[in-house]
Symmetry: C2
Subunit: 267 residues, 2 copies
């Protein structure tokens, strides 16, 4: 059965794209067929995977405007086991164009219903907002992973994020669950960082007895250390595994991906 995972956080610049692309590449290299869906008009996942959003014929935008037309001719083969449904800048117009449609939250979900079966993983890279594009990701997904930085200001937005997930489970997608948090750009040496992580883990622990979509959420390990190589590889259209396979960024994401695969295979 396909695992459909939305990487979301309305806070900007926290590592959503880097985590989506790098986990996808790690799953692909472990032999699991994976589709990346770029839901951000900035098209950073698309760029990171070496595809020029300005040069493509079609994108997830076309899928949102006409879900019945499916994924045909819109998916790029990036590497063995790794496909991409790219974004383009006109995706920003999609939010306005589908805003009045009664099925505006379900379009991506409807479009993927037939096509996702051929993949073991579908990862949705969400934009930094709680608008229609992110909602389409949340309605199409079964799980949510929250990339974030262990900073005080980053913690402030988590409540609102979880509320949005809860609202989606109460209205359109009752099966949605929050799997966990990925700590990105992590500074292992700072006391403050450790305190923020402790706060986060304490919060998640006290939610375990409640009937909430994040009752089983936890901080996924390892944290991803800050590593400049991760900021460099997008400029070459490569993932860290091709650009700098021995860098700490590669080791951390590989270990994170393998831990997730072990856990999922065991279920």
């Amino acid at each position: 059965p396909t695992r459909l995972i939305a990487l979301m956080n309305q806070k900007g610049g926290v590592g959503k794209t880097t985590t989506t692309v790098t986990l996808a590449a790690a799953y692909a290299r472990a032999g699991r067929s994976t589709l990346v869906v770029d839901l951000d008009p900035q098209a950073h996942a698309t760029l990171h995977l070496g595809v020029d959003p300005a040069a493509i014929e079609a994108s997830v935008y076309d899928v949102l405007l006409d879900p019945a037309s499916g994924l045909e001719g819109r998916v790029h083969s990036i590497a063995p086991n790794l496909d991409l449904l790219p974004a383009q800048t006109d995706l920003a117009a999609a939010e306005v164009e589908i805003a009045q449609a009664p099925d505006r939250n379900r379009r991506l979900s409807d479009a993927l219903a037939a096509a996702s079966g051929k993949y073991e993983f579908v990862l949705f890279d969400c934009p930094p907002s709680l608008g229609l594009l992110t909602l389409n990701g949340l309605v199409a997904a079964r799980e949510v992973i929250i990339p974030m930085q262990a900073h005080f200001l980053a913690l402030q937005g988590v409540g609102k994020l979880l509320e949005t997930v809860r609202l989606v489970t109460q209205t359109v997608n009752p099966k949605l669950r929050v799997t966990g948090v990925v700590l990105c750009m992590h500074d292992t040496s700072s006391t403050h960082t450790q305190e923020v992580v402790a706060d986060l883990e304490a919060f998640l622990a006290e939610q375990r007895t409640l009937d909430v979509p994040w009752k089983h959420a936890r901080v996924l390990r390892p944290a991803i250390r800050r590593n400049i190589k991760l900021a460099e590889c997008p400029s070459f259209g490569q993932t860290i595994f091709d650009y700098a396979p021995t860098a700490p960024g590669a080791a951390d994401y590989k270990a994170l991906a393998e831990g997730m695969l072990r856990e999922w295979d065991a279920m």
Copy 2:
């Protein structure tokens, strides 16, 4: 004459709030009366300055809904020479509520017209978007400063940002100019970072002969190094100058502020 400066970048998490708050505190400590206007529903500038957005009576939201009511009773005195017009989370609703008004871009500008005279500096902390709240900041401002990280993906959004500024000068605010770029969370040791900065400086240099609002824009110095103390002090509601006055983050922002003051005083 008051200097009205919008700190803007639609990319999230690039240092807009940290730069707005810390430059404002530096100007205040240099004896210049400064107002911070928090235009972000996340209210991070408000939190950073030690004000609880959930506990305040009124905010910039009320000003946007009724510009004629001005700033009375809404401005907090934070420190000598440092005032704050705070944000609240219901500010997100403002974009929808004023969306149809013919003066929707000018509301903040209209409201500040009388009140800004008592300040030497008014700094607008913009949200990570090019929506109505940011537009209100751009219409109320005379100058734009762009905080950004010297990363490849960060460079991708600069074109769109400048286009938005140009559009504003062509329609509502012909006097708006881009003063420059502040390099935040800067990694001085990375070759990649240096290449991105060189690309940026080359781009700005070739714009000098054109009739564009960024023809005099430059990379402001020094760059602000990554310093965990800057991520810690918001959790105490303090600026870096109170929290860790000898930290590199304090030294960098102080030097940047002093350079800007020298330059402006010389004009």
